[in-house]
């Protein structure tokens, strides 16, 4: 159990270690380096959303002067292996087929061949000379079509995992799962009010500002180096090795600085292609995606259909819930619908429920993780429905949630009992906040919603190396996305008792750091932070032993206090030794001092967020703007509060974009029609107010400081918080996102055209 502790550095706000390099342009990102002899790669992509690949003839491309290598899917060995890609075992056959299609193109933009040439223009020209013969098939671009009885089948061998009926029949439904408790029919029978709605959300992209980019080289000896922008260098290493056919020991992956990932830079796209081209050409190959390729061929999250029904007593107690969730997986199985189902009811103590979840393949890019994968979609439906319950019963929306809130010892909808969770504290904090009672202006509305995410654990490693001057270096294997270098330095400083500015915090490559799982799942400050703490403890114990050597006493007799070794009482002429004083004598007391730790952490313990959104609608245009937004979150312990607040604000900004404007727009033949930031509208700084943040700290007992994880929860509530504010402002319940001006205006005009009943 975590005990309260007075911290010296935890909770302070030092300048981030990578900050100056990033704001001055010195930091090196995926596309920045140029290696001697480097070739440029270009990927040929399918112009069809669904087509059988009859043949690929690359002879003309190979004959283009300046071309050094051309590959197709047949050049990559087919593997049936699985690896732990991020947090779930992934079928590398699907990943390999997604990297370069073998027999079928499954979405517009699916890679089918690649060229390496001396210039990018030559590579493009050669790619255009590749002759691909397609048999065009009807595309499946939505859930309703995918599950129709006469739907074209994407994968003839696919069967529904977890289904009781029709499991032997080809299908586009990859899996089915369910959660249930109690007697749902009896629950609804005792309800005084029942709300039932169907919600839809479009496919949306993570929208990281840095496109995918990499450089790979592979020598005659088969030893390879891959430089790339990634959330998981070890995932890239192991996936590349398996897909290209090398030992992991022969692939070193060096992560660049990363311009956003949000889950979308966990999987591999370009890296195996660049490596295979480099191996064939025996020269380094660099590939950089254009924004249209990022949209068409990398990690969106699912479009969805969610039906939810809630029943409540007159006092606001929710007594029954049922829901069905259908998520698009894209071209290969694996949407986050299971997580969505598990998150949907996580905030509420509901005695009777039934939730079913379906994973549906469609001819769109394979979805990738996106910040709390699956949870925002489920929360949009659930929190909109809870808002309706509050309205029907005329109970304050926060009060309704408090009356149903899960607390420590309650059973989560997915089974286990919750440990300490801060949901009630957070709701009470939100209710007491001035924002909740602030007056609204004309055409304005206020919405409230909560959100939930699990927060991951998994594998982490760290080393803490003492320098002779008493400073220290921390090395971990997690690319720094959200300020984790600073957080790791703070934790090492706290344990060693040296100023945080004297700790250099580094991101190692796959040869220079111990195995570490991805920067994702809100796990870095929790799990890798725990490894850093243990490594620093290990270094501190070595420092104590060295002090004992200097004093010629037993180690157990040496105390440690505020960064100093304390001699045993009565030791002649001995006074406390600082870290710097002990480190200066390392060579004479046994050699270098290197603290190490590796661990496998359980999931961090769940976290909740609650958001208040004020929105103003122009009734003449349907355009809305967010006028005030406050995000509350139980983070366990904020190690560096500025980066905790930054995560909360970033999640809110992304969620507002998802709610108001973002969507993949497809033509009837399955071509994305808005694959650029001009037509795919993401919020920019001028679109948003300053997002207020309120940190709540209910310690997570699994971490020495109580850290819970931060990054994912804040994207969960905004979809519903915005939609609930829109309901408040317009009187209209919107059940489909985005709440773009045309959709809102159409609904306002339709409502105005309906005569009001007397």
């Amino acid at each position: 159990m975590t005990t309260p502790r007075d911290f010296k550095y935890v909770g302070t706000r030092p300048i981030r270690h990578d900050g100056v390099d990033k704001v001055t342009g010195r930091a090196s990102y995926g596309a920045d380096p140029a290696w001697p002899g480097m070739l440029h790669g270009f990927v040929l992509r399918s112009p069809h959303a669904h087509a059988r690949i009859v043949s690929i003839d690359t002879k003309a491309a190979e004959a283009v002067p300046g071309v050094h290598a051309v590959i197709t899917g047949k050049d990559l060995p087919e593997t049936t292996a699985t690896i732990a890609l991020g947090e779930a075992a992934i079928d590398l056959r699907d990943i390999g087929d997604n990297v370069l299609a073998r027999t079928k193109a499954l979405y517009h933009g699916h890679a089918v061949a690649a060229v390496a040439a001396t210039t990018i223009d030559i590579a493009r020209q050669a790619a255009a000379a590749i002759d691909v013969v397609y048999e065009v098939l009807e595309p499946v671009t939505g859930i309703d079509r995918a599950i129709a009885a006469d739907a074209p089948i994407l994968h003839p061998a696919l069967r529904t995992k977890g289904a009781s009926a029709d499991a032997g029949r080809p299908t586009n439904i990859a899996s089915r799962m369910e959660l249930k408790r109690g007697d749902v029919d009896a629950g609804f029978a005792e309800a005084d009010v029942v709300v039932e709605r169907e919600f839809r959300t479009p496919m949306v992209h993570q929208g990281y500002i840095e496109p995918h980019a990499c450089i790979a080289r592979c020598g005659e000896d088969g030893r390879a180096v891959v430089w790339c922008t990634t959330q998981g260098p070890f995932v890239v290493r192991d996936a590349c090795a398996a897909i290209v056919g090398l030992d992991s020991a022969n692939v070193k992956v060096v992560p660049s600085e990363i311009g956003g990932g949000f889950g979308g830079k966990i999987v591999v796209y370009l890296e195996p292609i660049a490596l295979a081209l480099a191996r064939r050409a025996q020269r380094p190959v660099k590939i950089v995606m254009g924004r249209d390729e990022v949209f068409r061929a990398t990690g969106p999250t699912s479009g969805s259909k969610v039906r939810v029904k809630l029943g409540a007593k007159r006092d606001g107690t929710i007594v029954a819930a049922s829901a069905s969730l259908w998520y698009e997986a894209g071209a290969y199985a694996g949407s986050p619908v299971g997580a969505g189902a598990m998150c949907m009811l996580a905030a509420y103590k509901i005695p009777n429920f039934f939730v079913e979840a379906y994973d549906v393949v469609v001819n769109k890019p394979k979805v990738a993780a996106y910040r709390a994968p699956g949870s925002p979609i489920a929360a949009f439906a659930m929190e909109s429905a809870v808002d309706e319950i509050a309205r029907e019963l005329k109970i304050d929306p926060i009060e309704v949630r408090l009356r149903n809130a899960n607390a420590e010892g309650d059973r989560a909808p997915y089974g286990p009992k919750y440990g300490p969770i801060g949901l009630t504290e957070m709701l009470e904090t939100a209710r007491a906040h001035p924002h909740w009672r602030a007056p609204l202006g004309a055409n304005q509305g206020r919405g409230f919603a909560v959100g939930f995410w699990f927060n991951a654990g998994m594998n982490s490693s760290a080393t803490v190396t003492l320098n002779a001057d008493g400073s220290a270096a921390v090395v971990t294997g997690n690319p720094d996305i959200g300020g984790t270098r600073a957080a790791q330095a703070i934790m090492a400083a706290e344990e060693l008792g040296i100023p945080v500015e004297r700790v250099r915090s580094n991101v190692g490559d796959t040869d220079g750091s111990g195995f570490t799982d991805v920067t994702g799942g809100s796990r870095v400050c929790y799990a890798t932070g725990m490894a850093v703490i243990r490594a620093a403890e290990d270094a501190r114990e070595q420092l104590r032993a060295r002090a004992a050597t200097i004093w010629n006493v037993g180690k157990d007799a040496v105390g440690w206090e505020d960064g100093r070794a304390i001699p045993p009482a009565g030791t002649e002429k001995a006074s406390p030794l600082t870290v710097a004083e002990i480190a200066a004598k390392m060579t004479h007391t046994g050699g270098p001092i290197v603290g190490r730790a590796s661990l496998y952490a359980p999931m961090a313990g769940p976290a909740f967020g609650a958001h208040i959104c004020d929105l103003e609608v122009d009734p003449e245009t349907g355009r809305s703007r967010i006028v005030r937004y406050t995000a509350f979150q139980d983070v366990g312990k904020a190690v560096h509060p500025s980066y905790v607040e930054g995560q909360m604000q970033g999640g809110v900004a992304q969620g507002i974009g998802w709610a108001l404007n973002e969507e993949y727009i497809y033509s009837a033949d399955g071509v994305m029609e808005n694959a650029g930031f001009l037509d795919y509208r993401m919020p920019v700084a001028s679109d948003l107010p300053m997002i207020e943040t309120v940190i709540v700290e209910v310690a997570n007992p699994l971490h020495p400081y109580g850290v819970r994880g931060v990054g994912e929860v804040p994207i969960v509530p905004p979809l519903a918080a915005v939609a609930n504010a829109m309901r408040d402002a317009t009187g209209i319940r919107f059940t489909e996102l985005p709440l773009s001006p045309p959709r809102v205006l159409e609904a306002i005009e339709a409502a105005a055209a309906v005569p009001v009943e007397a």
Binding site: A89, G263, A372, P416, A456, G457, Y600, P602
Partner: protein
């Protein structure tokens, strides 16, 4: 010491267990638990590998050789991927 774990199966698996939702298993560690479940319910054998395991509220995405305490409460939970 052999622990007696109370194992709660997710509802998606109970159609393969004749409706059994909860079962007490003598098992010192998670592999022993899985082996006992495979013996009792062969139909769910290949699904077990996809499950995270919650032991007294702590969820392990990969449960490995985690020990079980006496009277541990175990839930099998679908694995989750984060972003």
């Amino acid at each position: 010491m052999i622990a007696v774990a109370r194992v709660h199966l997710p509802s998606g698996l109970t159609r393969h267990t004749g409706g059994v939702e909860t079962i007490d298993v003598d098992a010192a560690r998670v592999p022993d638990l899985f082996a006992a479940l495979r013996d009792r319910f062969p139909q769910i054998a290949d699904r077990l590998e996809e499950m995270a395991v919650a032991i007294d509220g702590e969820i392990y995405a990969d449960p490995g050789y985690q020990p079980l305490r006496a009277d541990s409460e175990v839930h099998l939970v679908p694995r989750i991927a984060g972003g």
